[in-house]
């Protein structure tokens, strides 16, 4: 790669300060263009027909009447898409999720799609498509789906990871096990053992912008796609593979993205819109309704988790076991495996074992949601640790500090940690004034920790210097949280020029090499690294041009504070050349000045956080209000603290919503009963206090600035932090999230009746 990735401690001019985002003005004036805001000449309106059944055989689809409706230009069903059966099963699953093939696997599963001249015609055409269903038995609960008597959803699924290999298909896609040591020995050493079962309900990422795209396919196979996505390069590759297009002939442009949180890493309507366009030979714009977003896209797993932990009287945790059942919707996923990797990751537990069961049910295909799978496992583990702490008589924070993972601790998934920040966050929590604030009647305080990986991945960045010395930074990672500003800051830092001389843009797929998704908290980490290297690349060109202008050897030129300086004997008196001066002459010194970098930005650090939450519980209604909340997280290095805080606050709020009220509610018919923001209750402004934040900086050794991803960890602790706070306010331990008023009141009643 030729660039040194290692962390170097230094003083920054730009990085670490606060600058306004370049996309700000467009976003506050309504000019910013999102997925639904683009138009193309002659565009059609695409709409999708969805299954009203949880599980049904599609006996027949008759589109004849709809096709005859004036204004209808194309209709597609799975028959119009390639049959990927027998090939890559993962790809086949994605395609089958986009359009059902023979069976509707969940309420809201896409069955057919239509493109018509306008909204009204498209809606009418959907009603004219006749689908004959034969209802099949369904299962939506993860525990029920694992039982012997459950209807088996896919006869091709034989549980992976169990010996001997099962001879019968089941809804259990895989068993995963992680951990080390001997838990039996560990439990034998324990003075106190706590065992509990927890349940968490399914939640949705809840981005405010519904999925939207504008697709246009030409008869020669060239195509364009404008889409709201977390990764347009990946969307390009996936759509091309699904539809048999040439990758380079499909140009994908990412719109401004109105929230993703993992939910816009997966394709749904995009291949369908492309197929409709190909058939109609006209551009097709497809925008989902909110009900479609809830019924058809994105949710996270609902879970059922058993945790058993043992500790000595001094607080040392001697053994820990988690058995975690995660449903992945109608197609198998790796969600329980991720839970196994994260459940005990904050702690140094000599004997630990995590077993995960990945299960399929008749619900939408689960998609990544901010630190996928970790919040539920943390809810179970962090609740249990509080119970243990109480039992041995140690404060919850000291209990955690006693067992905290450090550099050198073996992670539950195997390797040994490098420098990590969990202990720092816990100590900061312990010292935080929030911990000493007085609680009022019916109030309680809870603390919880959380962990999530960061990932790096493929990244490609261009940096072009204009003749006036201003800089275009061209990025391929979608900006979901303000990364354009952070990247421009990094370029300014490296080049030694003011922030406002750098303009960062996100390029389409024809303008840069491949970039992975903005997922896994990788945006600022990976594009930041590529930006540093691209800037350093440009600096070497700048130095060479300066040398040429001066007529001195290149090796005598250094770059400092945005200018070239000649060093060495004989030319020490030459006046420095600024970036502007060199850029102005670039036409005569060899042409445009640019830097470029492509990198596999591996070596992302670990993200750890500890949260403090105060709740007030109305003992007569079971309603919990968040009265104070503090997030402490290790960011490695905060490039722009405003946006780091924004990630902390946003993630915490999503976790609070999950803890209190957000859940998918399914009826006995297996249909989703609350596919809208009215009854899928995300936190509103009046539900919350200000969310305090504290950024810690334990440098990541494998990033030049020490950056760690910060996007995801903040959603991990809140479920448990809220649960622990409720327990301290009421004396009642909640084991079922969300801890909605009816559940809390029932638990209070049960305790009163028992005692």
């Amino acid at each position: 790669m030729g660039h040194e990735q290692k962390y170097v401690d230094k003083k920054y001019e730009v990085v670490g300060t606060r600058f306004n985002r370049p996309d700000g003005i467009d976003k506050v004036t309504g000019k910013a263009r999102y997925g639904a805001d683009a138009s193309a000449p002659g565009q059609l309106v695409g709409r999708v027909l969805r299954s009203p059944h949880a599980h049904a055989q599609i006996v027949k689809i008759n589109t004849a009447k709809a096709e005859k409706l004036p204004g209808v230009k194309s209709i597609v069903t799975s028959a119009d898409l390639p049959d990927l059966t027998g090939g890559d099963q993962g790809l086949a699953d994605i395609l089958e999720n986009c359009l059902a093939r023979g069976r509707a696997l969940y309420d809201g599963h896409a069955i057919a799609a239509v493109a018509a001249v306008d909204e009204q015609t498209a809606a009418k055409a959907l009603k004219l498509i006749e689908v004959k269903y034969k209802k099949l038995p369904h299962v939506t609960d993860v525990d029920e789906a694992m039982s012997e008597s459950a209807p088996v959803i896919h006869d091709r699924i034989f549980t992976r990871g169990v010996e001997p290999k099962p001879s019968k298909p089941s809804n259990i896609a895989a068993r995963t096990q992680m951990g080390y040591g001997d838990v039996d020995v560990g439990f034998a050493e324990a003075d106190v053992i706590i065992e509990k079962t927890y349940k968490t309900e399914q939640t949705h990422q809840g981005y405010i912008e519904p999925h939207a795209c504008l697709a246009s396919v030409n008869p020669d196979g060239s195509a364009e796609l404008w889409v709201t996505t977390q990764g347009h390069f990946v969307f390009r590759n996936v759509c091309a593979s699904l539809l048999g297009l040439d990758i380079a002939k499909l140009k994908v442009t990412s719109s401004e993205i109105g929230g993703g949180f993992g939910g816009k890493t997966h394709v749904w309507g995009e291949p369908v819109a492309l197929a409709l366009s190909r058939k109609a030979n006209r551009p097709v714009k497809m925008v989902m309704g909110r009900d479609e977003v809830f019924r058809g896209t994105g949710p996270t797993s609902s879970t059922s988790i058993d945790v058993k932990m043992g500790a000595k009287k001094d607080g040392t945790i001697t053994a820990a076991v988690a058995e975690m059942r995660y449903q992945g919707g109608a197609f198998p996923g790796n969600w329980a495996m991720l839970a196994c990797m994260t459940a005990f990751a904050c702690y140094d537990i000599k004997n630990n074992k995590s077993v995960g069961w990945d299960v399929v049910v008749n619900r939408p295909k689960v998609a990544a949601y901010r630190a996928p799978s970790a919040p539920m496992a943390a809810f179970a583990v962090e609740s249990t640790i509080d119970l243990l702490a109480k039992e041995v008589g140690i404060s919850p924070i000291d209990m955690r500090l006693k067992n905290v993972a450090r550099e050198g601790t073996q992670a539950p998934y195997g390797p040994t940690y490098g420098p990590i920040g969990i202990e720092h966050t816990l100590k900061a929590v312990k010292d935080h004034p929030h911990m000493r604030a007085k609680l009022k009647k019916n109030q309680g305080r809870g603390v919880a920790c959380g962990f999530w990986f960061n990932i790096g991945g493929q990244t490609c960045t261009d940096l072009n210097i204009s003749v006036d010395g201003t800089v275009n930074l061209t990025l391929g990672t979608v900006d979901v949280g303000g990364s354009r500003s952070s990247m421009a800051m990094i370029a300014a830092e490296e080049l030694g020029i003011p922030y406002d001389q750098v303009r960062a843009n996100i390029a389409d797929t024809t303008s840069l090499g491949h970039n992975d998704m903005t997922e896994g908290s990788r945006g600022t980490f990976s594009s930041g690294m590529a930006t540093i290297f691209a800037a350093r690349d440009a600096i070497s060109v700048l130095k060479q041009r300066a040398a040429q202008m001066w007529g001195v050897p290149e090796e005598d030129v250094i770059w400092e504070n945005g200018q070239a300086i000649a060093t060495g004997e004989g030319h020490g008196n030459l006046p420095a050349l600024t970036l502007q001066e060199i850029a102005a002459k670039s036409g005569r010194t060899g042409g445009p000045i640019a830097g470029h970098n492509e990198v596999v930005a591996d070596g992302a650090g670990m993200g750890f956080a500890s949260h403090i939450c105060d709740v007030e519980v109305d003992p007569e209604t079971g309603r919990s209000s968040i009265v104070r909340y503090t997030v402490v997280q290790d960011a490695g290095k905060a490039i722009n603290p405003d946006y780091v805080e924004g990630q902390f606050q946003g993630g915490a709020t999503q976790g609070i919503g999950w803890a209190l009220n957000e859940e998918y509610i399914y009826g006995d018919d297996g249909c989703l009963q609350n596919p809208g923001f009215l009854d899928y209750r995300i936190p509103v402004c009046s539900d919350l206090p200000f969310i305090d934040t504290k950024i810690l900086e334990v440098p990541n050794p494998l990033h030049p600035y020490g950056v760690r991803g910060v996007g995801e960890t903040s959603i991990v602790p809140p479920l448990a932090a809220v649960g622990n706070a409720i327990a301290n306010a009421t004396g009642v331990r909640m084991t079922h999230a969300p801890m909605s008023p009816p559940r809390v009141l029932a638990a209070i009643d049960a305790q009163e009746n028992a005692g």
Binding site: V28, E209, G258, D642, G646, Q649, F677, I682, S686
Partner: protein, 167 residues
Amino acid sequence: MSNATLVSTTVNGDPVQFACPTDESLMTALRNRVGLTGVKEGCGTGDCGACSVTLDGSLVCSCLVLGVEAEGRKVTTVEGLSENGELHVLQQKFIDHAALQCGICTPGFLVAAKALLDRNPNPNETEIRYALAGNLCRCTGYDKIVHAVQDAAKDMRKNNNRSKKRS
């Protein structure tokens, strides 16, 4: 298909005419026929506030208004907040306070916050939070939004006092 009707209205101070089916929402008409895509659709059912506009000065979800109802009325959208080429104080404060991340909810928040400050120039935190409860944001946890509105209110009060003194 529904009958289309010609609607004459005023949008952001300008006379505007558009023809739309009678059952089309004002939100869709503003987006697709007037070209004001700053009016965002998050739900179409009045639950998220992204399509907030004022109608004769009253804050509404434009998804819950028919396009034809705008006949003879005055509509203000986010595109109408800046005047004389300058950002409205609220717009500037949203940028300064990093009160937006993805930005899809921002137009609705700005319209709603302006309606609040027009009505109540000195709201306390609770009043701000309840006034903005009809606007969903999934990125920020509302923290920086409330700070931005508080700061904007302060500046607007200062400016008002100054212009009062001058006149």
